[in-house]
């Protein structure tokens, strides 16, 4: 009872772990088991000489079939002595027509504990069940059925309507091979003396008392080379690898997306590249060559002087060298341009005059008509009146010095600004505005840069939102809230605001300096011409009122006045917040911090005055 249960469990397991041990070849041979030797079943028995006896090798897949395969824990090869399981003699399955009376039975095998392979005809499902049940008690390694003529199997094919619930694999041999094999099995059932070729065997030196039996070797394909555990591990590793691969792919996609969006934003000019701290960004030569180069035209100092008396007072000594050029400039501007006609013809002969098309047109056409137009755009395009190169501090000489104009409209000696932009920085020396064209991404965008940019943006957004919150929540409420939320956080916020303000103030200072800087401690002299300034404002308000309009309009957007105004406005906003935070400090009684902040402001304001 108990044994039956175990067998059931095992077979149950076997069906669940569907691991096929499909046969690939059958090998039948005759071995000799010495009659004297009883005992060790693992002993190797000599194979009977094949020329004298029987041997059969079946490897053609058409000749056999695997009906049911066992799990391969028993090994890939099934070996054993071939025999026909015993069934009750009155059972109709045991027909002498198929199974000869003297076929090798269990009793004919010399030892009980040898490995066995059962062999029987596949007549009907009932018969095979009877055979298999019998074989199970004999501890067989495998079962081989062979097909029989249809007349005996009642026309049914028992190969497919059978459920094999046994521990051993079941194979099927073609009837054409199976029946002769059965007959052979009947031949090798007694001892050597009864064997078919007995005389020859005796002459070959075999002892007639030995047993000759058919030994079957069934090679199975290792369709599953790895045991279940290995397969499981493999599956786990594969899943892990897949997860890793998928997440890595996802990550790379994300990073690619971020990089692309950063590139787009840089191209749109939304990101301050210099602020990212990605090292030195320089201007490639091809961009540098695109910046216009033209001959310096002195500003009409007589117009400026009444307009900006305090500014003019200081630079006056510096302009001593340009004094002789004042008389032609003293006239109103249109006349100034006309008066430039004669020299412009010899300007054209100056060697350093490459890119600006405007000047080259001046050289090709008659000076009388075209020179005003040719010079006017460059002249008007200039937003500032610089009298000296800020790098070498040399004065520009009217109608003689060649100057290069950056996108911010500041002018320099090409030999001064070119090496600076090529080797040091991409920013204008004076206003720190980038000289790179808008859509140009000068660096290789790495993930680190993307991360830094995101962090900076987040900090900026947070500080902006806190500033807004504070703005909304009013002074007293804010102070109370601050007192509740703790001094450290508040101090940190103030410090951050301060730093931001510093940043903005620095920029503002520079832009302001470039707007109306004059004399003093500064090393360079230039101021914004009053007429030009007003003209620019006029252009901004939408009215254009001069000749050469298209060029002017093209130049105007570069004037950056709007941007600068924005900057100043933001700085003002920040300063307002700072003042409020000082008030909050006072409310909190944090005098030390308050003095620090206000002092910082005062000093910074003072420094701006320089």
């Amino acid at each position: 009872m108990f044994r039956y249960g175990t067998a059931n469990i095992i077979s149950y397991n076997a069906t669940f772990i569907v691991i096929s041990a499909a046969a690939i070849s059958f090998n039948f041979s005759v071995i000799v088991i010495p009659a004297s030797l009883y005992g060790d079943p693992n002993l190797e028995f000599p194979t009977l000489n094949q020329t004298l006896s029987f041997a059969l090798e079946i490897s053609s897949p058409n000749d056999f079939d695997t009906l049911y395969s066992q799990d391969s824990s028993r090994g890939n090869t099934f070996k054993g002595l071939l025999y026909v399981p015993d069934i009750p003699p009155d059972n109709p399955c045991d027909t002498p027509a198929l199974v000869p009376r003297n076929v090798t039975r269990k009793d004919d095998l010399p030892m009980d504990d040898l490995k066995l392979i059962a062999y029987a005809p596949l007549i009907t499902p009932e018969c095979s069940r009877v055979y298999m049940e019998s074989a199970e008690n004999d501890n067989v390694a495998a079962f081989i059925f062979y097909g029989v003529p249809e007349t005996l199997s009642n026309g049914t094919d028992p190969r497919h309507d059978e459920s094999y619930q046994y521990e051993y694999p079941v194979y099927y041999l073609d009837g054409a091979i199976g029946q002769p094999l059965m007959n052979k099995l009947a031949e090798y059932s007694g001892n050597m003396s009864e064997v078919h070729n007995e005389a020859n065997l005796q002459t070959a030196g075999y002892d007639l008392r030995d047993f000759a039996r058919i030994y079957a070797v069934i090679s199975t394909r290792s369709t599953n080379p790895m045991p279940g555990l290995w397969l499981f591990l493999l599956v786990v590793v594969a899943v892990l690898l897949f997860i890793i691969g998928a997440s890595s792919l996802l990550m790379h996609l994300c990073q690619f997306h971020y990089r692309r969006s950063l590139r787009r934003r840089i191209a749109n000019g939304e990101v301050d590249l210099e602020g990212l701290g990605v090292g030195r960004i320089t201007v490639p030569r091809e961009f540098l060559a695109k910046f216009p180069v033209y001959v310096y035209i002195a500003e009409t100092s007589s117009i400026q002087e009444p307009r900006a008396p305090p500014a003019a007072a200081l630079p006056a000594p510096m302009e001593g060298s340009s004094e002789p050029k004042a008389p032609p400039a003293a006239e109103p501007e249109p006349e100034v341009e006309v008066s430039e006609q004669p020299p412009s013809s010899d300007l054209s002969s100056s060697p350093t005059q490459p890119p600006p098309t405007v000047t080259t047109t001046a050289t090709t056409t008659t000076p009388a008509r075209t020179t005003p137009i040719a010079v006017a755009p460059t002249h008007l395009g200039r937003g500032y009146s610089q009298t000296a190169c800020p790098i070498c501090l040399d004065d520009f000489i009217h109608q003689e010095t060649t100057v290069r104009e950056l996108p911010c409209l500041h002018v320099f000696h090409p030999e001064c600004i070119d090496p600076y932009l090529e080797t040091q920085s991409s920013l204008c020396v004076l206003c720190k505005q980038s000289c790179l064209p808008k859509g140009y991404v000068p660096i290789r965008l790495t993930n680190a840069i993307v991360r830094r940019e995101r962090l900076m943006r987040r900090v900026r957004e947070r500080s902006r939102s806190t500033a807004h919150d504070r703005h909304r929540s009013g002074g007293a409420d804010g102070a109370v809230e601050m007192a509740e939320s703790g001094g450290a956080l508040f101090r940190w916020r103030v410090r951050r605001l301060r730093r931001q303000e510093q940043d903005l103030m620095g920029r503002e200072a520079l832009s302001r300096a470039s707007l109306r800087r004059s004399g003093g401690a500064g090393a360079f002299e230039y101021r914004r011409s009053g007429t030009q300034g007003s003209r620019m404002q006029a252009a901004q308000s939408g009215r254009s009122h001069r000749g050469g309009e298209p060029v002017e309009d093209a130049v105007r957007p570069r004037s950056l006045a709007v941007m600068r105004d924005n900057d100043v406005a933001t700085a003002r906003e920040i300063r307002k917040h700072l003042a409020k935070s000082v008030a909050e400090c006072l409310a909190l009684g944090d005098t030390m911090l308050q003095t620090r902040i206000s002092k910082g402001r005062k000093i910074r304001l003072r420094s701006l005055r320089y």
Partner: protein, 161 residues
């Protein structure tokens, strides 16, 4: 190279000329150490008024590199200076203006003004003088200021003009 050094010398002469004609209120003097060598200057930096540095005058050493307007000058304090961003022994200054933020438009004189501004707006988050920075960071302004005053009195007072 000779052309570059010629333009460098021309700029330095311009600066020298200007510093002689226009007195920078932040400085007591500003001139080359030796008339034959324009690449090595020195200056006297005044302490900012209304600050603990008031009344002090510090000797400052200015070394000008060969590619000067493009690269910043190397500026060190010769007189002992107590400041979070100044090394107390070597006098080295930690100021972004003298490093990444340098612009060719700055002159020696305006750089000195910037350094004077640095005196009253220290950046304790990137200190060279850790003790002073720690005082500031912990919020002990009184202690910091008295420390500065002591150093001014002890080292920088004698230059008073």
């Amino acid at each position: 190279m000779s052309a570059a050094s010629a333009s460098l010398n021309r700029r330095l002469i311009q600066e020298l000329h200007k510093s002689r004609t226009e007195q920078n209120p932040a400085l007591t003097y500003l001139e080359p150490l030796d008339d034959s060598d324009l690449h090595h200057w020195h200056a006297g930096l005044r302490g900012t008024p209304d600050s603990p540095y008031e009344g002090g005058v510090w000797d400052v050493d200015i070394v000008i590199p060969d590619n000067y307007p493009l690269a910043p000058p190397t500026i060190t304090f010769k007189t002992k200076m107590c400041h979070p961003n100044v090394h107390i022994e070597s006098g080295e200054i930690c100021l972004d203006l003298l490093k990444a933020e340098w612009s060719a438009a700055y002159t020696i004189s305006s750089t000195m003004t910037a350094i004077q501004t640095l005196l009253t707006s220290p950046e304790p988050d990137s200190p060279l003088n850790v003790d002073a920075a720690a005082l500031l960071r912990s919020g002990d302004t009184v202690g910091y200021e008295s420390l500065v005053r002591y150093y001014v009195w002890r080292y920088a007072q004698k230059h008073e003009i």
